[in-house]
Subunit: 204 residues, 2 copies
């Protein structure tokens, strides 16, 4: 199985701009990518990063495609000769075990939903499937698969459902993260605080 990890190399994580400086956002996105790649490697996979710009310091293969996410991923799918997995680069809670469940699931198309209607990871085993990440992609991907008569499986994983977009997501990283991203946040004085029944991330 080919595993591709799309990564937006320029101005990542803009929705964290009230919390982290531009340089910090880039560092944090890099730390999360490191964790995702490590979890994939521990699950026995050799991922390729599909980046919008070169990433000279990465030891894994990097394919550069400046086009928008859906176009770049569909170009990968169009040339696929085997099953292809597409895993978002901001899944800071992903573990080898969660990825193993994703890759082991049957189906022409396997979808791992993200919070807020996105598709955080998918496996494509049919040449007819194409992605559309614009808007609520989870519902769209189910519809695209159904239109083409493809069997779809949904993987029920909290660790694959949390992507790091907003301040509230940082609390999940501090609570459940096991890698460099959680460490990076702790090193920058982020701690957990309880407010109104939910735990939130606070910078001291």
């Amino acid at each position: 199985m080919r595993v591709v990890v799309p990564f937006a190399a320029s101005e990542p994580k803009t929705r964290l701009e009230g919390v982290l400086s531009p340089d910090e956002r880039a560092e944090f996105a890099d730390a999360v990518l490191t964790d995702v790649l490590a979890a994939l490697a521990a699950a026995g996979r050799s991922p390729t990063v599909l980046s919008t710009a070169p990433l000279p310091e990465r030891s894994v293969p990097v394919r550069v495609d400046e086009r928008d996410l859906s176009t770049a991923v569909n170009a990968v799918l169009a040339e696929a000769t085997e099953a292809t997995a597409v895993v978002m680069a901001d899944l800071a809670l992903a573990t080898p075990r969660a990825f193993e469940r994703l890759f082991a699931a049957d189906g022409d198309v396997v979808l791992a939903p993200g919070l807020g209607g996105g598709t955080n990871a998918l496996v494509v085993r049919d040449a007819g499937f194409r992605v559309d990440y614009h808007g609520g992609s989870f519902a769209d991907h189910r519809a695209i698969a159904a239109e083409r008569g493809l069997a779809t499986t949904v993987v029920d994983s909290f660790r694959l459902a949390v992507d790091v977009d907003e301040r509230a997501d940082l609390a999940e990283v501090l609570l459940h993260g096991e890698g460099t991203a959680a460490e990076w946040l702790r090193d920058r004085d982020f701690t957990l605080a309880t407010a109104d029944g939910r735990v939130t991330a606070r910078r001291e």
Copy 2:
């Protein structure tokens, strides 16, 4: 296995007060409870509702305990003669399959984390364990189990991680819910809208 579903019968879902009227909040909480009980029944379980007040219209057994959540649950655990599962009443996305994974997991204590640091479901197989739902209960429950030398398993489930507390959670119900709660929201003119990359629930 005994399965207990704590339910706050008075003034439920106060964090939805900007979105739903008090009567609507009570109706919605009732619809979600109906879905949770149906999913548990479909998973082969016979749950008891642990309610803060009588629920005359429920066909399942209701145990009334007016005390706070942790005290009421610990009273159940203290008298347990078999494994006991505690499942929150607001898990609007829970499916029979998700509950089956919870109940099948090994461990003296099995925890299903909720978004924001809570514990949305747990299974207790050791008489020494007690709950503490105040604050970030997931970390506390791990610590309590570790202090007592109990083996803890964490179930990785998106469907068990989403509890319906806030407006953002309503979008998840509309996107992924399969029961009366999703239908209830649609009947009250809630629809999905895409804003800033995430899908949100909007009332028309």
